[in-house]
Each structure stands twice: as structure tokens, then as C-alpha cells.
């Protein structure tokens, strides 16, 4: 059945032009054709049943084909990153384009950083997800991106920060595709910060991550986009033998957020810890689709999501654990918990298991509810005012997800962010509760 193209789809199709982002050039035409075929994902597709992009993108957001004029706002937005003291090196992208002036490259050897546009042909491997319209859209229109390669045995545990800012000056789609390769025995910490100003736009960011044997990556993502930003992201990870991935995402900004994660175990005895938190209010909408594919035996995956929804916000968690026929001795656990602060908040979940091997231990749990009145009563009976008691409980609820962050300085940043959010959004104050 042919569906009429929306104005947003038409704008994308008309804006296509081959040429940019060197390493992506060979894939661009195919991706465009696939996107032209599928169009934007809509609610009739099972994976998108709660987030209909055809409806979300109600007007055109054509990609920015030319580098925009330097904006004075960029520096201010970059300064809002709470990781200023923590990151060792920074790469800044504004409205989809690399900003050299605002960036500082890593100083040590062992890490290569280049812009996607500077890489020619097959020098960087790109693995498109052919059945994913979001990924096709990304490849077809990516204007730039970072290529970070951590060399064999190198240890760069002092974080590298990628900052993606949207100035809101352009009603456009800002598309970036990044590739991170951590070679055998190497380890790295990468922070991904999204900060945006007011003004409607679409951000479409893909992270392709490949971890070699014994490699380790801590990836921390803070999404603090502007209030009218549609945030689309795709995380594609392949883990080699004995590799370890620690991944954390806080979704606090944006109007509509769609986070996709596809984690594939390619080598045995690897481990992936994927966690996240939502702090949503107003009419924010956040949808996480996370697929963990146990393609080989003896791997461990852990997922923990803590979602706080205030006002009329809507949180969605769709997690899927696949255990292939050969993937014996798999240990997979997934849990998602929602805390709804008002009558009109909403949480939807679809925690799936798809299991073809018998010698496995897999499970998932999902809960949804409001604050436990008994707990509030307990705190109040000890002299803590109601608002503060509630704030303490909300902060504690979210903090369980932050606990998976091993770097203490970074963990503290998130705890502080949660407290700020409670102050601003709910009027509850958690501050002073423990002072």
C-alpha cells in the first residue's frame, strides 16, 4: 500500500545531493534509495508503535547542505556542559558541523581523532543497518562526524568529550555519524553531550562502536537538547571477545527523543552494562528501543532503566534480548522501572525476550507506579517536610541508574543534574535533605 509522502519526507528527498562526508560517500546513494522506499517510520511499524515520526515531523526539516555561518551562541552552549573540568579533550559539533575553534584535540599518543569528512573511501568501516529507516536517513544526509580510534593497548581513561550543540537558528535536520574503534586491549571513556538552545530542529546522531578483544569502553551520554528539538539517535555496538561496555544515557532534554541501541556480542565472554534514566516533564516524550543480541555463547548483559515522568510527560522503554541458538551459557537481565509523578504522566514498556538456546539464564522485570506513600510517611514521621521527602525519594530512585557509572566525578555530575531537575521541574527540593 503506497502511503502519501509527508512534507517532511518530501523535503528530505528533494535535498539529497551526493558528495560530503568522505567515508560515507560509497553508501550514500543506496541509503537514500532505501529511505525513499521506506519513508519515515510510523506507528504501523511494530518498533515505532509509540513514536510516529511521520506525525512528529509535522513540517519539513531539510538538512543543512552548506556549513552555517559561525554562531556566537556556540561558545555559550559549549560552556553549559557540566563536564568542563572532567574532559581531557573536546570535539565540538554545532548544527551538524565540526567547529575547530571550539575543540581541543587529545594530547597523548594512542588516540587518533579525525573528522568523518576528512576520511576517504574505505579507510573507515561503516556498517549501515539496512532495515532501519533512521540509519538510512543518517547515512544519506550525514554532514560530518568524529572518527576516534584508540590504538591497541592504549589506555585513555581520562574522558574525551564529544559535544553536539544545536543553536536553534535553523529549522533543519542536523545529521552526524561517528565511529569509535577501541582496538584489542585498549580502553577509553567517551562522554557524549547534547546541548541545545530554543528553536525547532531535528538532531540525528549515530554512534558506531567497535570493541576489540579485551577492549573496554565507558560511554556516558547526557541529552540536554533544547525544548523544541527532536532528538534521534542510534547506538550500534559490536563487542569482541572479553570486551566490556559500560553505557549510560540520561535523557532530560528535547521535545521528542528516540534513542535506539543495538548491541551485538561477536566474541565470547564479553559483558555489556547498559543503563539509563529519564527525567521528563511538560509534554516531553522519550522512547528507548534497545536490542541486545547474544550471537555467541558465554556473554553477560545487564540493562537497567529508571524513568521519572512529571506533568504530562511520556516515557517508553522497549528492550529486547535475543539469545541465538548457539549462545549457550548466556546471562541476560533487563529491568525498567517507571515513577509517574502526576496523574497525566504515562509509561509504556515492551520488555521482550527471544530465546533459542536452552542453557541460559534470562529474565526481565518492569514496574510502573507512583511514589510509595509509606516511604513518604516514614520520612515525614522523622520530621522531613513532605516536598523534601518526595524529592529525596525521587532522587534515590534515579540514582540507582547513576550507580552504574564507575567514574565518581561523572557520577556526581549526574546526581547534581537530578537535583537541579527536581528544583526546577517539580519545585521539590532535595537539597538540604541530607545536609
Amino acid at each position: 500500500m503506497a502511503i502519501e509522502k509527508t512534507t517532511a519526507e518530501t523535503a528530505y528527498l528533494e535535498a539529497f545531493g551526493a558528495g560530503r562526508a568522505g567515508a560515507l560517500a560509497p553508501h550514500r546513494r543506496t541509503a537514500f534509495e532505501r529511505f525513499a522506499e521506506s519513508g519515515l517510520p510510523h506507528r504501523r511499524l511494530e518498533d515505532w508503535k509509540w513514536t510516529d515520526l511521520r506525525r512528529v515531523l509535522a513540517k519539513p526539516y531539510p538538512p543543512l547542505v552548506e556549513r552555517p555561518a559561525p554562531s556566537a551562541e556556540v561558545a555559550g552552549l559549549v560552556a553549559r556542559s557540566p563536564f568542563g573540568e572532567i574532559a581531557r579533550a573536546r570535539l565540538v559539533f554545532a548544527d551538524g558541523w565540526y567547529v575547530e575553534d571550539a575543540s581541543s584535540m587529545p594530547v597523548s599518543s594512542g588516540v587518533d581523532v579525525t573528522a568523518m569528512t576528512a576520511v576517504q573511501g574505505a579507510a573507515v568501516e561503516v556498517s549501515p543497518r539496512e532495515d532501519d529507516p533512521l540509519d538510512q536517513l543518517n547515512i544519506a544526509y550525514a554532514s560530518d562526524g568524529a572518527v576516534i580510534r584508540v590504538q591497541e593497548g592504549a589506555n585513555t581513561d581520562i574522558p574525551i568529550e564529544l559535544i553536539f550543540v544545536t543553536t536553534g537558528a535553523h529549522e533543519a535536520t542536523h545529521t552526524l555519524r561517528n565511529v569509535i574503534e577501541v582496538a584489542d586491549g585498549a580502553s577509553a571513556t567517551i562522554i557524549e553531550t547534547h546541548i541545545g538552545a530554543e528553536g525547532a530542529c531535528v538532531a540525528n546522531t549515530v554512534m558506531e562502536i567497535r570493541l576489540g578483544r579485551d577492549a573496554r569502553l565507558d560511554r556516558i551520554k547526557l541529552q540536554h537538547d533544547g525544548p523544541s528539538t527532536v532528538h534521534l539517535s542510534n547506538l550500534l555496538v559490536t563487542l569482541g571477545e572479553q570486551a566490556v561496555l559500560n553505557d549510560f544515557t540520561l535523557t532530560a532534554g528535547g521535545e521528542v527523543t528516540r534513542n535506539q541501541g543495538f548491541i551485538t556480542f561477536a566474541g565470547e565472554h564479553a559483558r555489556a552494562n547498559v543503563s539509563g534514566a529519564y527525567l521528563l516533564d511538560g509534554k516531553q516524550h522519550a522512547d528507548t528501543r534497545l536490542v541486545v543480541d547474544h550471537a555467541v555463547p558465554n556473554c553477560v548483559s545487564r540493562e537497567l532503566f529508571k524513568c521519572v515522568m512529571d506533568d504530562e510527560a511520556r516515557g517508553i522503554f522497549q528492550g529486547k534480548v535475543i539469545v541465538r541458538q548457539d549462545a549457550q551459557k548466556t546471562d541476560g537481565k533487563q529491568s525498567s522501572h517507571a515513577l509517574l509523578l502526576t496523574e497525566n504522566a504515562e509509561f509504556d514498556a515492551k520488555p521482550e525476550l527471544e530465546i533459542y538456546a536452552d542453557d541460559v539464564v534470562c529474565g526481565h522485570g518492569a514496574t510502573s507506579g507512583e511514589l510509595d506513600e509509606n516511604l513518604v510517611f516514614y520520612l515525614r514521621s522523622r520530621g522531613i517536610p513532605e516536598a523534601r521527602a518526595k524529592a529525596m525519594l525521587i532522587a534515590a530512585f534515579a540514582a540507582e541508574a547513576f550507580d552504574s557509572i564507575e567514574n565518581e566525578a561523572i557520577r556526581n555530575v549526574f546526581n547534581a543534574l537530578a537535583h537541579d531537575w527536581l528544583d526546577e521541574s517539580t519545585g521539590h527540593s532535595a537539597h538540604g535533605a541530607s545536609e
Binding site: Q325, L340, E346, A349, I355, D359, V360, T367, S368
Partner: protein, 505 residues
Amino acid sequence: MADVETIERVREIDVDKYKYGFETEIESDFAPKGLSEEVIRFISGKKEEPEWMLTMRLDAYRRWLDMEEPTWAKVDYPKIDFNDIYYYAAPKGQDGPKSLDEVDPELLKTYEKLGIPLKEQEILAGVRKQGEPSTLDEEGGGEYASGKVAVDAVFDSVSVVTTFKEELAKAGVIFCSISEAIREHPELVQKYLFSVVPQGDNYYAALNSAVFSDGSFVYVPEGVRCPMELSTYFRINAENTGQFERTLIIADKGSYVSYLEGCTAPMRDENQLHAAVVELIALDDAEIKYSTVQNWYPGDADGKGGIYNFVTKRADCRGANSKVSWTQVETGSAITWKYPSCILRGDNSRGEFYSIAISNGRQQVDSGTKMIHLGQNTSSRIISKGIAAGYSDNTYRGLVSAHRKATHARNFTQCDSLLIGDKCGAHTVPYIEAKTSTAHFEHEATTSKISDDQMFYCQARGLNEEEAVALIVNGFVRDVIQQLPMEFMAETQRLIGISLEGSVG
């Protein structure tokens, strides 16, 4: 005790030698093959239905023509040719028998061969008079020990014998075939039929609405506790006959009814289609307990043959404080596509779903439930136990949702899967939608295999491998078995053993 029996059954029966795979030779009265308005008129005419019923059937048929076969379930089967099926087959000479004497002896033999000598069978066979205690009651007691079971036997689409009608009538309970109800109680049928599962609800429900040949109708009047268990056996008999049962149960204010449905089918090579619809309506303070044991032919070891079971079952807890409980034991059928659901419309209403789904050989099961919370203080509970063995796929698919006005809704869901062998699959696809903060939803799912420790422990105590598996599996599903009426408990434990035959070693 029961486990020993299970093992004996397992030894006796082979996957290829389906126990109930015999065919009774009774002449059938067929409608022409295929589906058309003429066939629907033929069925409606055969059943001497009033004009309004025919109109509704034709309406359903026209909707069905515009619909597409659903493909979202995790089942895989060759495309069904809906024009290669007989939509009506009535056993000949069965123009409404009123007593056992009128029943074809072949039929009674069939019940004997079915080997489910439940209390119903005893009564049917005249072994025991109604009201006498049954030997089956010895181990139990309580509400199911009455020794009274009313049967509405369905033999290839037509209700052939209805027992205990008089006693039920004394209590005011109407228990008859749906065709009879359409003729005798049109006001009730018109009011409630299609009110829970409308004609155009889904592809198979629409098909059923157009061609349903028979089924059961129950009406329990206000304040009446139905004096006995009601029961129906479904049996698919004639070759190439789709079975399209339609069941409608109405529990009026403050009433209670327990309904049992069990089924077996003879062996054959061609796939058979079964698309039933069950509608339950519980008014204020009423309770309906609906139990199913499904043991249709699952196909042979290579997956050949077997029943396609596409069923729509839905309960409407329409009144305040009403309650509906679904209990199902699914061991048969090649393909199962079945989601007994509860619409919790009345305030304080409650829905329950207890399920055991066992798949072996090449069986594919996609089953689960929907609990739709609309009223305030509604609660629901889901306990699902899936067991996959052989080359089978076993999927739990369920929805729990709370509407914005469904304040203080509560749900607890537990889905456990057990895998036996490394060629099978167990999947869990739950949907949870909470649109109000006061809804408390808890969902938990686990997947595991029988642990080596458990097996070792049992075998160290002298059980062989199959006995150990049967023991462990019966323990795994115990929570659900306990929900079954006494009549089905023993049979179910045997069925579990039979279903898992050949899955170990």
C-alpha cells in the same frame, strides 16, 4: 501418584501415534466447499435462523472480505485457502436429540475412545446417576465436589446432546446451543452477541461471525449460583471441516458460573482450521470461571498435519465488582493463536489469567492475554508458564494497559519459560501501558532450563530421566494447575507427560 501415571502414559504413547487420532464414521451433511454469501445463507437456513441473524452474518462476511490475515504473531504456516474448506458439517440424523437414547451409538463410542472418563463421561455413559459421588471426588472437595456436571457436547459443529437441562432450568440457568438460543431467547442473544467481540474485531473473529455453525450459550440469572459445572467438549471430526464455534456466556448480577471446555481431535494429514469466538459478560458482582484444556492433534513428528487454532476469547467485566478468570492448558494444535482477554470496565472488577502452554515437535504457540483496565480500582493477575521442547516455538504475548481514568489499577504478571533441548525457542513479548500514575504494574519474566542440579537430585533418588522431567515440569506449572477445576487436574497432569514425550534423551 499422578507423576507415575504420567510416566505410564508417556511410555504408552508415541508422538506419531496420537492417542485420540481415530476417526468416527458418521455421515455428515456438508455445505458446499468454499465461502460465499450462498454458503452463509445455507448455514443460516439450516439453522432456521431469524432474518436479523443472517443480516449480521452477512455483515461480518463483507467486513471479512476487506480484512487482511494478521501476520504479527510469531507463527509460520502455509497460506490458508479459505475456499478449500467446508464451512458446515452436521452429523446426519441429529435433528435436535432431546435425550441420551437418541444419541448415535457411534458418538457414545467416540466419547469412550476419547479416554477422558471424567464425571461427564460417567454420566453420559450411564455409569453413574447424577448426584452420586464420583470416584474422582475422593482426593478433593469443596465447590467442585458436587458430582454434577452438565455437558453440551459439540460434535463437528452441532450440539448433539444437552444434559441436565431441566435441573438447570429449575435454577433459571439457560444452557443450550447457540443456535437454539438464537431461536428461543432472541432478546438475550441480540442484546449480548457481538457486544464483546464485534463482527469486524479481527480477521478470524469476522470469519467466525459469518460462518459460525454452533456453540454454547449460557445465561445465569441474577443472584443465581449455577448449581453445577458446565462443560463442552469440542471435537473436530469430518475431514476438511473448519470448526467455527461461538460461545456466549452471560452472568447476570450477583451470579456465578464455572465453565469447562476440553477438546481432542482425530489424526489426519491435512491441516484443519479452527476459529472460535468466546464472549463472556459479567454484570455487577458476577463471576465467571472459564477453564480450557486444549489437546488437539499437534501434527506428526515432522510437523505434518495438525490443527490451526485461531481463537478470539474475550471477557467484558461490565459490572462493578465483577470477576472473570481464564485458565488454560494448551498442549495440542500445530499453531495456536489465542489471547483470552479481560476488559475491566466495572469499578473494582478483577481479571485473572492462568496459562500453561506446552509445545513439542514442530508446534508453534503464540498465546497470552490482554488486561485492559478502564474502571477504578480494577485489578488483574497473569501467571503464564510456557514450556518449549523439540523444535517448537513458544511465545507469550500480552498487554496490560490502564486507561487515564483507571485510577488505582493493579496488575501482577509473571511469565516463566522453560526450555527443554536446544532446538526450541521461548519468547516473551509483553506490552505495558500505564496512563495514570496510580496504576501499579509489576511484570516479571524468566527463562531457564531444567537445572542439572534438579535432574541429578531426582535421578539420585531413583527416577529415570523422563520421570524426573515430568516431576520437575509438573512442579513448574503447579501454580496454574491449582486453578483448574478438580475434573481437569488429573487429566492435565497426564497431558503434560504425553505432550513432553520424546523431549529428553
